[in-house]
Amino acid sequence: MNFINKKMLGTVMAGLLAVSLSACGSSGNNNNGGNASAPASSPAASSSASKDTGSNEKVTITFQNIYPDQTDPKYKMIRNVVAKYESEHPNVKIELDSLNTDQQKLKLKTQAASKEVPDITIVNPSAQMQPFVDADLFAPLNEMVEKNGLKDTFQSGILDYYTFDGNLYALPDGNNIALVYYNKSLFEQAGAKVPTTFEEMVEAVKTLKAKNITPIAIGEKDSWTGSFLFMNVLLRTNGGPGFLKEVLDGKKTFDDPAFTEAVDAFQSLVQAGAFQEGATSFDYNAGENLFKTGKAAMYFMGSWATGGIETSDVSKDGNVGVFKFPTVGGKGDPNQFMLAPGSAFAVSKNSEHLEETLDFLNYFMLNYPKELFTLKGGVGLAQVVDGDFKAAGYSDMAVEVMNMFKDVKGGDLAFDNTMNPGTAQVHLSSIQNLFVTKKDAAEVAKEHQTAFEENK
């Protein structure tokens, strides 16, 4: 009897031990999970607080953002504005979740799949945010944007890219155009002249190449960079914006001459040796660094690169100039640009503190342009900036870029902002392929058309 008891006791003890062990294990897991998806657990913890929205209740707002780079003016800006807001609203705590762009995209998708979107998050315009809007994850900002005159600070028309069925779902952090930066001393060294047509550009490429200078830097491992340039060529060969729109509406196909001409023009650039060797293994930063360190003569990019180029060695003594992407085969208008409405702040529909979050975002967006202007990050904003750039110490190049904005007569969005992700991926790798193999334009067109029809 005694023996059996002992044995039973042993079993029970063992069981207890096992249970406690597994309990430890699972609670450890929970902690980890909580940290990773803070937005999910923190609102839940204070969910009772939000119901009566008393101003003294402690409120925590999670602010997912893409400003982790300490050298970026936006890094300082977001912290300054948050600190100011917190001091004015002692009951509100803003938790920053700073990630780089790719990480943030992936994290948001994971969070969206489990409906645990952070209070404020970052999305990209048009087609890229469509799936999130369709999944009904964001709160409409229509009323909020009217408060304190926030809506009037935005450039006219820019909010359309974030509006679906009459509801505004996100507020952009910038509005950029694509342009070509060039290294004046390298151009001089090679005796090349600043091109005014695409054909001259190809000539300039050959001249530079002959002097062993890399003509154009590109980070084509991140395949959107090449696509961005290609789409600018297409914008010219199509004689104006709207090619993809017309494809979407069924009025045109990718077999259209405008598209094949663009492919051929683009290939002539590649075949002339325009890009650095091994371009497809350079990521965005590595590509840009080639230009920033004076190893490449030209760099085609959105105006968001201005700040970084301005502070790099290459632009000492006003060495960097800019020009608009030229006409291709005499077609197109240089004042039509590739437009890049920036990534944008959206608010989770299921936020436990919706009211406070909206109030904060309103405050944030009102202070956003002012703060960035003083931090020298004022180029390429979606909002109207008061202030004299020249007097505030911006370089000639930055002022030149700012002036380009005044010439904008419409344009196109990037491919992946217009088409759905499935088609966009095929397009991206198809263009990437042009960097390494010469292809028949008709074949490229067919590849696009097939992908488009399959992913409709």
Partner: protein, 297 residues
């Protein structure tokens, strides 16, 4: 089991927590993946049940699927047929000729500890075109072999082999360590007995080391095979599957589909394929080695 003299319940109580964790973390996700593989779903919004059409598309109508499978097996093949024999050879040499083995073995092991991102960046600069200071190309040019230079990571035909080389280099030390330990565990008196019988050097290796290392070698084979099937990080760092899918393997294709093209259902279908291949391969390898074991014992 009864040797332990504890009741079945006790055993169950001890095994249960681990079993539960295992089931929750391994089996449930696999089953969920199979289900997801039958959905037309972008990962966020509403989903539609489409039966087996994802699998159908994968096998018959995806231009990049079979090539990516081929590359995955290419990597596995190189790993098993080139890397492991070299590792075994080096391990035998070390154990025979080197007194203080610690330093050598740890140096071979070093790349395994390094982060794949570091390794990827390192080799990217080694592979760079000569104009960007790439080491290999510069050496080739110095040797007068200009025609042998390539941009190793961006020429579609060469790129995958360049990556395979790095993968082999990184994990060579891992397999050397495993097999070296295996050799060390072979009792010395067997060799001494053989010596008396006149079997020395490579003859001893042929008749003693090789048969006795089989169980350890099996571990290496399984690890290298499964590791190759799952290879992802190195490829993402070095080429991202590009240029234009030329270095895509199963897992990078799966990632592209699930997260970039936002076809989560389709990506899950690819994941299922990967699981099945892994299981089948493990079974096959086990079977093969059981035969080998029997032949030698």
């Amino acid at each position: 089991m009864n040797v332990l003299k504890v009741s079945r319940w006790t055993i169950a109580a001890f095994v249960l927590p681990c079993l539960l964790l295992y089931v929750i973390l391994v089996f449930v996700p696999i089953i969920v993946s199979f289900y997801n593989g039958m959905l037309d779903w972008n990962g966020i919004g509403t989903s539609k049940f489409v039966g087996l059409s994802n699998f159908d598309k994968m096998f018959t109508n995806d231009a990049y699927f079979w090539p990516s499978v081929r590359r995955t097996f290419l990597l596995a093949g190189f790993s098993m047929l080139v890397q492991l024999p070299i590792a075994l050879f080096v391990a035998i040499l070390i154990s025979r000729y080197v007194r203080k083995t610690g330093f050598l073995v740890s140096s071979y092991f070093l790349p395994v500890i390094l982060s794949v991102v570091v390794i990827g960046q390192l080799w990217k600069t080694i592979y760079n075109p000569a104009s960007m200071g790439g080491m290999i190309n510069q050496i080739l040019i110095k040797l007068g072999l200009d025609s042998w230079t390539h941009s190793w990571l961006t020429e579609p035909k060469v790129a995958i082999y360049s990556i395979i080389l790095v993968a082999l280099w990184q994990y060579l030390g891992y397999h050397i360590l495993i097999q070296f330990t295996g050799i060390q565990n072979i009792p010395a008196d067997i060799y001494e007995a053989a010596k008396i019988d006149g079997a020395e050097g490579f003859k001893a290796d042929r008749y003693i080391t090789l048969p006795l290392i089989v169980p350890i070698f099996k571990i290496s084979v399984v690890l290298s095979f499964i590791g190759s099937l799952q290879s992802f990080d190195l490829i993402m760092v070095m080429t991202g599957g590009g240029p234009a899918h030329a270095t895509d393997v199963i897992s990078s294709h799966m990632y592209n589909m699930s997260f970039l093209s936002m076809k989560y259902g389709y990506g899950s279908a690819i994941a299922c394929f990967l699981v099945v291949v892994c299981l089948a391969a493990t079974l096959f390898i086990n079977l093969l080695f059981n035969r080998l074991d029997k032949r030698f014992s």
